[in-house]
Symmetry: C3
Subunit: 137 residues, 3 copies
């Protein structure tokens, strides 16, 4: 069994962004030289997520608008008594789940035809990280 | 370490369906001859999911009604400007998460007493796939 | 490759609780003697979840209040025709996802600075279990 670890770093211009990272993950899989296994891609923060979705900007706007409706920015969260103002970003992380686990077959990500990988930032404008952990043979 | 890969194919009669796949996953685990490890069961599409829940049809209706309330079918999603009409199915996939990772102990799925595995279709009536990736010893 | 399995048991005083389990998971990783790999932490029930979030009690109250709003306790779920009264807990489990997969690097959980692990009980006051499955080298 082999293991491979890589960290991706993000510092978004906007508070909320959806960033395509499919190529970075494909590159990590190639670097790992692992042929059969799984690739965990997980946010190391509580206010951003990694998702698998469609590379279509209209859908990305739908996703962000929908998340804002279900987990809205508000002043009066309990969490904000600590001085924070990002409780909505924690809820958006919970709703979308922090991570995905991707299969690797014949040395490549074994994704469906429209599946692409995205980093979803809900409280950006500061340095944040994603871990890529690959195990297999 | 060993690895095992299998693809399940679905083509549902209805646009939305919840289909029990526990037996198919148990069969894949048996075929893999892996005794200790994990089993990733993941939708290869952006409009369906794999979940672990109760095999109770009333609850399945509750789940579908609840998803429709939180991520409703609507005409006016941005994504629909591309000609698609399934943005709600993308949001339902995000809400339920595309995948589960199941533990394997002593050659069997190590699930709780009521845990069963389901394929949740939110935009069916066409051929779609689920990947089963098992790694372990 | 090595594999390690452990079960954690919970019996909460209240119907709903968020319980920090970071130390138990760190202990399991140490016991496994696995240096590089992944650690699956998954509820064995359909009405509780394992999440990664902030160890801040105000945020935990925000999370529970938010879940109650999106997946409310109600009498009239279909599932309740079976005699159950916990359909809302099933929906809360779906929303938060039953499990997390944690990376292990250099023999330790490779988490971000504020990431802590929690068991989220949505229908407690009875014995429930979480499985910890670690694989790696």
């Amino acid at each position: 069994m082999k293991s491979f670890t890589k960290y991706l770093t993000f510092n978004t211009k906007n508070r909320r962004e959806i960033i395509r990272i499919t190529d970075e993950i494909k590159k990590a899989v190639a670097e790992s030289k692992i042929n059969e296994g799984i690739c965990l891609v997980s946010s190391m923060h509580l206010t951003s997520s990694v998702i698998v979705q469609d590379n279509e900007s209209g859908l990305h706007r739908d996703i962000m608008e929908w998340l804002e409706k279900l987990a809205p920015y508000r002043k009066d969260y309990e969490h904000h008594k600590t001085g924070e103002d990002n409780a909505d970003a924690h809820l958006k992380n919970l709703l979308t789940h922090l991570q995905v686990v991707l299969p690797i077959t014949n040395g490549k990500l074994d994704l469906g035809p429209w599946q692409e990988i995205f980093y979803c930032e809900f409280d950006g404008q500061r340095t944040k990280r994603v871990i890529v952990k690959i195990i297999g043979i």
